[in-house]
């Protein structure tokens, strides 16, 4: 029944490793997003996809690569993890950009 589901919920990994976070939505929305929430609770957009097409790519290191195999899925792959990548990553979806987003429950990434 979960509208936007992310896996895993927690991810602890060492510096230099490569990891992926998966996101799926069953709402039929056309647009999906990745947001990063830092330790001060600021939410900042990283990427948005509309019908599998990349729309927004904010100033994010090339180590971060989103992939959308279909409009219900948006995954985030991170190469060569750094300590500063530690944060909570949220996936979200919306029918169109100016309607309320539905967020997933987040993935807490800790790089040690």
């Amino acid at each position: 029944d979960t509208a936007v589901s992310q896996t895993p919920k927690y991810l602890v990994t060492q510096m230099g490793n490569d990891k992926s976070i998966k996101c799926e939505q069953n709402l039929g929305h056309d647009t999906m997003y990745w947001y990063k929430q830092d330790s001060k609770k600021f939410l900042k957009i990283m990427f948005s996809y509309n019908n599998k097409e990349l729309i927004i790519n904010e100033t994010v290191p090339n180590r971060f690569s989103p992939k959308s195999p279909d409009k219900a899925h948006l995954n985030l792959h991170i190469n060569s993890l750094e300590l500063g990548d530690s944060a909570v990553y949220f996936c979200a979806s919306s029918p169109v950009s100016h309607y309320g987003y539905t967020f997933g429950s987040g993935t807490r990434l800790t790089v040690v």
Binding site: V4, T31, Y33, K40, K41, F42, L43, K44, I45, S48, N50, I55, I56, E58, F90, A92, S94, S97, H98, Y99, G100, Y101, T102, F103, G104, S105, G106
Partner: protein, 113 residues
């Protein structure tokens, strides 16, 4: 650059004590202003979207209002279950900002029984 500033950073209320949260924004053309509620360890939960100055929306004990420079989230007779972080965000109209929300830092609301 779009900016969203929320105040206060934290607010403690007694159950039944009404108050307001403020969201001041700067954006070149507002498509929409959003309010979200975030509980610890969870994702933000959508509350309201406001599109134009003068607009108001209500949901249970919450009422959101919008002017050309700020939005208020009024909480009437709050209950402990209203305790959460309340986030404000703006979406800029047009151009390459499609789907990009700019969030404020949030107001942490604690309601004591």
């Amino acid at each position: 650059e779009d900016q969203v500033t929320q105040s206060p950073e934290a607010l403690r209320l007694q159950e039944g004590e009404s108050s307001s949260l403020n969201c001041s924004y700067t954006v070149s053309g507002l498509r929409g202003l959003f309010w979200y509620r975030q509980d610890p360890g969870k994702g933000p939960e959508f509350l309201f979207t406001l599109y134009s100055a003068g607009e108001e929306k209500e949901k249970e004990r919450l009422k959101a209002t919008l002017t050309k420079k700020e939005s208020f989230l009024h909480i009437t007779a709050p209950k402990p279950e209203d305790s959460a972080t309340y986030l404000c965000a703006v979406d800029r109209a047009g151009g390459t900002s499609y789907g990009k929300l700019t969030f404020g830092q949030g107001t942490i609301l604690t309601v004591h029984p």
